[in-house]
Amino acid sequence: MAGLFDMLKEDHNQVKGLLTQTIENKDHSQFSQIRRMLEVHMEGEEKFLYPKIMEKDRETALESYEEHHVGKLVLHELTETGKDDEAWIPKVKVLKDILDHHIKEEESEIFDEVRQILSSDQEQQIAQQIEELKSQRL
């Protein structure tokens, strides 16, 4: 099994790729996949990883929860808005900008910080919990 952080980065890359495709090709057909992947990824981080960050760096963890919250607000709007509405693809662009920023913060700062807090056993356990969640939902 891949390490926890490699697994999360892999998720990030996959979602970034799907969002870019959607915007470049003005093609909404992969939206349900994007939404499902994002929801499960966020749920996994929120349930298993962020609580560990909360113990050491509450401010950073709370900000991460808020960024997910904003991502969910846009996902909800995208679900409610007709796919042929001319605002739909611009909304995906806004979602992508928010996620790019969030991903950059996680990969360049937060993951390094968490690595120092967690033992390799804990990392492995969290990776397993997230994998299990994914296999249940996806």
Binding site: L62, E63, A87
Partner: protein, 148 residues
């Protein structure tokens, strides 16, 4: 508003608003002090309303994507402002929300100043720009007064 401080360029006027709000957001976060929130909310709402009513529609036909993106960024900011208004200022989620609002707004401002305003400059005549500036200024005065 003092007559002396009135600028004659719609983009400069909007950039001054941006700078002002960025400063207030920074202060709030750095000093961990929510007291300027009503002012931030008032200024942001008036500024967004002015852009949405007068600037965005004038360039929407030529720059549809950028304008629709702008509306959406405003929409999200308003949602966060609303949540922050309802939430107890001492709640530990309040400042993190403010931080996320700051990030969204700074990103939006970058896009406006580096992409949308230069495009608008190409599209609009000097007369149109002057007209829009007058409309935004009037709207702002009305909006800010409605809070007093």
């Amino acid at each position: 508003m003092e007559v002396n401080s009135v600028v004659n360029d719609v983009y400069q006027m909007l950039k001054d608003d941006h700078k002002n709000v960025k400063g207030l957001l920074n202060e709030t976060l750095e000093n961990d002090d929510p007291s300027k929130f009503p002012k931030i909310r008032r200024e942001l709402e008036a500024h967004m309303l002015g852009e949405e009513k007068y600037l965005y529609p004038a360039i929407r036909k030529d720059e549809t994507f950028l304008v629709l993106e702008g509306y959406e960024e405003h929409e999200l900011s308003k949602k966060l402002l609303y949540e922050m208004d309802k939430l107890d200022k001492n709640d530990e989620h309040w400042m993190p929300k403010m931080k996320v609002l700051q990030e969204i707004i700074e990103h939006h401002i970058d896009e406006e100043e580096n992409e949308l305003f230069p495009k608008a400059k190409e599209i609009l005549s000097k007369d149109q720009e002057r007209h829009i500036m007058g409309q935004i200024r009037r709207e702002k005065t009305l909006h800010v007064k409605s809070y007093l």
